[in-house]
Symmetry: C2
Subunit: 121 residues, 2 copies
């Protein structure tokens, strides 16, 4: 399984990924990981420490709130829900990504000068 070396290239977007999932519905940690795995077609795997430290950060910033689900059986689950601020923040994050993507696209080029052999000037 390949996935992609994660870290640097997705850095800064993980908070947005989580907010995006919570935009659809309240959810709990483990399921958020699964959900991101599914949505990415198995190409992205969010690690647990990364997830839970993100969640803590987001909660401290008032972008999400948490509550314990009342499971009658099975392990406890802490659910997270978006706050209005979180909703707003996602919008901003989304726009920032659009802007960053455009800049990176320009600076990294469109791949025309790659071809197969080498680059002629």
């Amino acid at each position: 399984m390949e996935s992609l070396h994660n870290s640097d290239l997705v850095r800064g977007n993980i908070d947005a990924f989580i907010l995006r999932v919570l935009l659809d519905a309240d959810n709990y940690g483990y399921q958020i990981i699964k959900e991101l795995g599914i949505r990415s077609g198995g190409r992205f795997e969010l690690k647990e420490p990364t997830l839970y430290s993100s969640l803590r950060r987001l909660e401290q910033q008032g972008l999400i709130r948490s509550y314990w689900g009342q499971e009658t059986q099975g392990g406890r689950r802490k659910y997270y829900t978006l706050t209005p601020d979180g909703r707003e923040r996602f919008k901003v994050k989304w726009q920032e990504w659009q802007a960053a993507r455009a800049i990176i696209d320009v600076l990294i080029g469109d791949g025309k000068e790659l071809a197969s052999g080498d680059g002629q000037k």
Copy 2:
């Protein structure tokens, strides 16, 4: 001037930016910064310590080589040139970016659920 908070969202792509510039022509540090500023329409500003530590890293990895320009007057300039490995590495970096971009696009959404008011489910 706004530019964009840099760091996290472009992280991991800076090496590729530099390699991309050197793909066009040998160049020296200060000019690479200028070049990236121009290509991005002033929206991206590479900081000096970031540039020079990137250059050192790239040189250690054998992706670029350096030589002092023989300026008869004016300050000394250390020029950098791509090695074949560097050329190859740029290709890889480029492809990694394409892959990462696709995944991020999926996970952050297309913005349909943003609209203006709020999201209806």
